[in-house]
């Protein structure tokens, strides 16, 4: 078996350790004896979605997103078809915003891919902190770090999870991210997958199922270290005293 992972525009969208997500996909396939091929599509090169089983759209600064926008127009319909055909996508931060209709920054209007019926608007106060979600898709919480100026309004879409600690899509809604077909779009980096192997395996299973047609149960991996890293953040923010201390520090 083999999966092909397309990393879109790593030269422009490569913030906050996005490479870690690619590495996680790759290693968790290899450790199970499944071949993994990663194809980086640099800005300006042709993206052939028919070859891809997983697409990673990472984060970038507002300026870089604007540049990406130019290249996006060329792949807009191919990308949409890929998603509607149950193609697996992980979109993080800037990539999440780009899947929507638009991102209105303080200066400009960045056009999105219009794959999701969502939009993002910039506000001066950035939402920066550790974040923990409870998602109905997983029994383990999802942990990560959020850092975004944009507030994303997801309309009727299903969120990825409910915010246990942190700010989420708008800082007020109490929810974070979007799940649509085989797309997971989220503000969580950290990077997302290494500390949340349940999310990685969920996406891998979906991609394998789409490619090989049958229900594929992935072999369990020894994830002790992953659990420890995940538990550490959950434990820290389940401690009310710690949360209070951190809040006081933040505002003084």
């Amino acid at each position: 078996m083999k999966l092909t992972i397309g990393h879109l525009y790593p030269d422009l969208l490569n913030l906050y350790g996005d490479r870690g997500n690619i590495q996680c996909f790759r290693k968790r396939l290899e450790w199970r004896g499944i071949e993994a091929e990663v194809i980086p599509f640099l800005s300006g090169s042709r993206t052939d979605f028919s070859r891809l089983d997983i697409v990673l759209l990472g984060g970038g600064s507002d300026r870089e997103q604007e540049l990406v926008c130019r290249y996006m127009k060329e792949i807009k319909s191919d990308f949409k078809n890929y998603v509607e055909d149950n193609g697996v996508v992980l979109a993080v931060c800037g990539g999440y915003q780009l899947l929507g209709k638009y991102y209105k920054t303080d200066k400009k209007m960045i056009e999105g891919l219009e794959i999701l019926d969502i939009y993002t608007e910039w506000e001066p106060e950035r939402l920066i902190r550790n974040i923990i979600l409870n998602s109905p898709l997983f029994s383990t919480p999802i942990v990560g770090f959020e850092n975004h100026g944009g507030r994303t309004y997801i309309g009727n879409h299903t969120p990825l999870g409910k915010v246990f600690f942190g700010l989420g899509n708008t800082g007020k809604s109490g929810y974070e991210g979007v799940v649509y077909k085989n797309v997971i779009a989220t503000y969580l980096h950290g990077p997302l997958l290494p500390k949340n192997p349940q999310v990685c395996d969920y996406l891998l299973e979906r991609a394998l199922k789409r490619k090989y047609g049958e229900e594929i149960k992935l072999e369990k991996l020894p994830d002790k270290l992953e659990q420890k890293a995940n538990n550490y953040i959950v434990g820290r923010y389940s401690d009310k005293k710690y949360v209070l201390k951190e809040t006081i520090k933040r505002y003084t």
Partner: protein, 519 residues
């Protein structure tokens, strides 16, 4: 002086005394806060009392070292210089530095002020300080959770610089982001840069911050990269290119400490000539040497130096990381104690600033040759016959440099990596994934141990490169164990908040065991 300022100074000093008496920390920021409460214009008043020039140093990497070089160079010329303490580079810390340097009557006696300024604080500090020159080391990825994005850092610095149009800029023109300031600000400026390739492949890594043209958005073309986005660039579309720097370092050679005469006559050996004849040369070294010409220069230097060194390990082998750089600055040949190519940049930028200010430089060569770049940030300890190195790595580019340093040492070693996530360190540790840790697989490391609040994240980073490691919550115990049973060659790499405590702990261990004495 205004009464208000006098009162502010008096109260700040009282606060400082109180803090020290009560043993409540080092007291470097609160006095500044108190002074500012009483007199909001205190910094302007104080900086106005500096007799000659005020220099500020900003940038992601190298601020503290560069500022320290400036300080020592000016002191060597007999000048009275004010400097802010490491880490006290926000508004209150800077005010404290000035206020606490005054005499009993609240007067300042200083010829120069060398002030390190945090990028976020620069927006408030610069307009009050009105420095004569502002030195910018580089702008790259650092503590993104504080700064948001590197563009936000850039905009902060831009805003700060725009508020002081009279200030002369000292810019690294190898850094496209820094150089862009010349388009966005009308300030006069001088540039510095290095035209030789001095960084090896490993320290370059893949983090490229701004390889897109700032004026037209097309992809920049690079002759080569130094590290990060620093390098020799040009835009094939609009013609923007890295200018010929006003100040540069040349004839850069890394050579053995004991044999300064052993350095090759020039650094121009061609690629592929290296014969790797040194007795200590391993296959790994040869591989690394083939990858970059700088490595060849090093080996040549080692070969011609005969490999007899001071500071060699107990087995009498040369320790490669004890090699230091020599280079030429404006015709001055300098045999520095710099171990990493970074510090050549730091020295060059300080040189450029002093030249631009027309400061006296009679003793510059002497100062630099005696300058200890260590700065607590890379200290070497001898504990019970084991060599322990402490290194600070607080962002991906810095960490990459440390990995390159570890790889240059072919001897077996133990490595401890401590990662904390306090506000000072940066709460977001995702930058660990921007470091090319895969090279550590070839570092001849007997053990790798992770420590700190985010030790499991660090462990995961290594796990996903298939590099085995363990973790510990008791750093001291682990260090003691490795000193007793390990390779006698220990690297401790920490990020910011662990630096002082670890330094203190290692100093203590060293003094208990009286250095190299074997039991």
């Amino acid at each position: 002086m205004r009464l208000r300022s006098k009162l502010a100074i008096r109260c700040a000093k009282l606060t400082s005394t109180l803090i020290k008496k009560l043993n409540r920390g080092s007291g470097v920021t609160l006095p500044g806060y108190v002074a500012r409460l009483i007199d909001p214009e205190i910094l302007s008043v104080m900086s106005g009392m500096v007799r000659e020039k005020t220099i500020v140093t900003m940038g992601t990497n190298g601020k503290t070292t560069t500022n320290s070089i400036l300080y020592h160079a000016l002191k060597a010329e007999g000048k009275t210089v004010i400097i802010n303490r490491t880490g006290a580079n926000m508004l209150n810390g800077i005010i404290s530095a000035f206020v606490l340097a005054t005499d009993r009557k609240g007067r300042l006696h200083a010829d120069y002020a060398c002030i390190e300024v945090d990028e976020i604080a620069s927006v408030r500090v610069l307009p009050q300080l009105k420095p004569d020159c502002a030195l910018l080391t580089n702008i790259s990825r650092d503590q993104l959770d504080r700064f948001g994005e590197v563009d936000i850092t850039y905009n902060k610095i831009k805003t700060a610089v725009l508020s002081v149009p009279e200030t002369k800029l000292i810019l690294n023109c190898d850094d496209i982001l820094s150089y862009t300031l010349t388009q966005d600000c009308k300030n006069s400026y001088v540039t510095y840069g290095i035209s030789e390739q001095i960084f090896d492949d490993i320290s370059r890594s893949e983090i490229r911050e701004s390889i897109f043209c700032r004026s037209c958005g097309k992809k920049l073309s690079y002759d080569f990269f130094h590290y990060g986005q620093l390098g020799i660039y040009h835009c094939p579309n609009c013609g923007l290119k890295r200018p010929e720097p006003d100040y540069t370092a040349e004839n850069i050679v890394l050579h053995d400490t004991a044999c300064p005469s052993g350095k090759p006559s020039d650094g121009t050996m061609e690629k592929g000539q290296c014969t790797a004849a040194s007795a200590g040369t391993t296959e790994k070294e040869q591989r690394a040497a083939a990858s970059a010409s700088i490595m060849e220069k090093e080996q040549r230097a080692a070969v011609s130096a005969g490999c007899a060194t001071q500071g060699s390990s107990s087995a009498g082998r040369p320790i490669l990381s004890d090699r230091m750089y020599s280079f030429t600055l404006g015709g001055m040949e300098i045999a520095s104690q710099a171990r990493s190519p970074y510090n050549i940049y730091n020295t060059l930028s300080a040189y450029a600033a002093l030249c631009a200010l027309q400061a006296p430089m009679k003793k510059f060569k002497q100062t630099i040759e005696g300058f200890d770049y260590g700065n607590n940030r890379e200290s070497v300890f001898m504990i019970n016959g084991a060599r322990v190195q402490l290194h600070l790595a607080k962002n991906p580019i810095g960490f990459q440099q440390k990995i390159s340093l570890v790889l240059k040492d072919p001897d077996p070693k133990d490595v401890i990596i401590q990662i904390n996530d306090t506000y000072q360190d940066g709460e977001d540790i995702s930058w660990l994934w921007d470091v090319d840790f895969q090279y550590l697989a070839n570092a001849n490391a007997a053990t790798i141990t992770t420590n700190g609040t985010r030790r499991h994240d660090m462990g995961l980073r290594l796990k996903y490169e298939d590099i085995p490691c363990s973790s510990t919550t008791d750093l001291r115990k682990t260090v003691e164990k490795l000193i007793a049973e390990g390779t006698k060659n220990l690297y401790v790499i920490v990020n910011y908040s662990g630096l002082y405590r670890t330094n203190h702990m290692l100093t203590e261990l060293q003094s208990i065991t009286k250095g190299g004495a074997t039991s």
